[in-house]
Amino acid sequence: MNQRYLIGIFEREEDILSATNASRLHGFVISDVYAPYAVHGLDKAIGLSPSRLPWVCFLLGLLGAALKVWFEFWTTGIDWPVNVGGKPWNSLPAFVPVTFEVMVFFAGVSTVIAFLFVSRLWPGARAPLADRGVTDNRFVLILEDTGPAFDQDRAREIFKKSNAVDIEERVETTR
């Protein structure tokens, strides 16, 4: 089946913001937006919901800390208790620094791995570019052609109103 898209290319962040806002308000389905840098407010204009990555960070950090406290307790208090300066076997306050470091390590590394995984980024992955300038100075707005209900003239009008430098139709063949 063929999926048709209408693509608008912009060169200023004000233009991509206004075009995206107007498209969403007119009920067009925004397939994606491509940008050379993070534009303040563009996520809201597209209608993206906030990322769930903070949960990964929180839960894995918690897991790392819990595992570390248990491990320190098990090694120093149970497996082979060694008397160090008469301190108690289970010297919990002395376990705080390493527990904190391991928590940060787990939380940080797992968040980045989760980010790369959900964004399908991996070493050597191919980067299909919506436009050659998308990592330089161009913004690309892609609207999905949803069939007869898709008012292409209206969409083109919105793009032109926001100073689109180029508007084109593309067809993607999906098997």
């Binding site: 491509y34 904190f100 391991v102 939380a107 940080g108 570019l129």
Partner: protein
């Protein structure tokens, strides 16, 4: 009368020269595309040679043993730990700029964060060398890890600050490297799309992980960036706190004080900021980045230096006051000995460089004179090195038992090792300037609009 073009409520622009996003890409990617200059080669040859001197010294001392150092029974820690704390401290300014200033929404950081983070990573590598060679048998360094072994298992002592330090430095290095790499992703994609097909494009393409600027990815990227900044902020405080505990948990007079963690953290940021200034004042000139790293950026960092210098100065005074007020004669003697003993020249060098000299930065004329700021930054680096030297050596050289008092002076091997770490640091930094974008391209594009909305333009 001075002419004012327009009265505006907007702040002055962060980036000079009315740059467009396309100019930003071209300017910052330019050094990567062309052949390195003669200046670069000179610097690289010198740094590389210095690094080789260090490698030779390290090879010799590992082969012979740490009897090649000037340590003795009284002074068991001296040059190596001084250099370790010095380098770790330098690294902390990079995290301050990349994480703390990000959380505080200081947009000017975008021009300097990339190079400051690179500096952090290279400084931590230099720092890591010293504890490892001090082990005497560095091939057993993995004994620091709590792994199941045939000796029991005999576990590491989790109550020891040296083990805390190992975990702190390892985590700090990993998180700094991860943070830096995630920040590099969009810029690597920019370099990839600019380069002609060839080996470079393939390498950069491999490393850019298929970044294509999709906004769904951008949103997650921003989230990850914020999370890493949030994690790195307490991390940087914890790292130097733990470094200070290496000293403060002992009972050596002059070390056993609760002021150490904040004192060390402030000193670390102070020395690191000075090193950032040393590097970027040269880099902006050599790489034609004057529009990106303006006098405003340098001024902002100079102000952080004034602030942290004040904190360090306050800590010096507090230490003296508390020693006097404690009524503890050992504590009192250590501080008297620092200021008037055989190493008083080191103490007063430290006070002059860290407390007196930075006060010049209160004056705008001084902050705008980059040659002067550069000289001040070098002096602060010297002063902060002496701070660690004074803390470590004067406290150990004369503690409780006068019959075991001793003195210390470094051997040529120790000096060569220290010089070698500077060689390593500058070699890595020059390679970074040559092969990676020294300024965060995508972040600078995001702040171009600041100060531009003044009527026309």
């Amino acid at each position: 009368m001075r002419k004012v073009d327009a009265i505006s409520i907007y702040p002055p622009p962060l980036i000079g020269g009315h740059k467009t996003p396309r100019d930003v890409t071209a300017d910052i990617a330019a050094p990567i595309g062309r052949r390195p200059s003669a200046l670069w080669w000179t610097g690289f040859a010198f740094s590389f040679a210095l690094m080789c001197v260090g490698i030779a010294a390290e090879t010799y001392q590992i082969k012979t043993g740490i009897g090649t150092w000037g340590l003795n029974k009284t002074i068991g820690w001296a040059f190596d730990i001084t250099n370790f704390v010095f380098w770790i401290g330098i690294g902390h300014a990079g995290t301050l700029i990349s994480a703390i200033l990000f959380l505080l929404n200081q947009k000017w950081r975008t021009s300097v964060n990339r190079s400051a983070e690179a500096m952090t990573i290279f400084a931590v590598i230099c720092a890591g060398i010293f504890p490892v060679i001090h082990m005497g048998r560095p091939w057993l360094a993995f004994w620091m890890l709590p792994y199941p072994n045939t000796r029991g298992s005999l576990w590491v002592n989790f109550r020891s600050p040296l083990v805390w330090d190992f975990f702190a430095i390892a985590t700090y290095f990993t998180i700094s490297l991860t943070f830096w790499y995630v920040g590099l992703l969009p810029d690597l994609a920019t370099i990839r799309d600019r380069s002609r097909p060839g080996l470079k494009k393939r390498i950069v393409g491999f490393l850019s992980l298929g970044w294509n600027g999709s906004y769904k990815t951008w949103l997650r990227y921003e989230t990850v960036y914020l999370l890493l900044a949030g994690l790195a902020t307490p991390l940087v405080v914890s790292v130097h706190t733990i470094v200070s505990w290496d000293f403060a948990t002992s009972i050596v007079p002059g070390w056993h004080t609760t002021i150490f963690p904040p004192y060390f953290v402030a000193g670390a940021i102070f020395s690191g900021m000075a090193m950032v200034l040393t590097l970027i004042i040269v880099a902006r000139k050599a790489m034609n980045l004057e529009d990106y790293i303006t006098k405003r950026h340098i001024g902002a960092m100079a102000k952080i230096i004034i602030f942290t210098s004040g904190m360090v100065g306050l800590a010096y005074a507090t230490e003296f006051f508390i020693a006097m007020y404690s009524g503890n004669q050992y504590e009192q003697y250590v501080f008297f000995n620092r200021a008037a003993g055989p190493l008083s020249w080191a103490y007063w060098t430290m006070v002059a460089c860290n407390v007196a000299v930075p006060q010049l930065l209160w004056f705008r004329k001084v902050r705008d004179n980059l040659a002067l700021v550069f000289a001040i930054s070098i002096l602060i680096n010297v002063g902060m090195w002496f701070e660690r030297f004074v803390i470590i050596v004067t406290s150990l050289s004369r503690d409780y038992l006068p019959s075991s008092w001793a003195s210390y002076s470094p051997t040529i091997i120790e000096i060569a090792t220290f010089a070698g770490t500077f060689g390593l640091f500058f070699t890595l930094f020059l390679l970074f300037c040559r092969f990676l974008p020294v300024i965060a391209i995508s972040e600078v594009k995001g702040v171009l609009g600041i100060g531009r909305k003044r009527g026309v333009s």
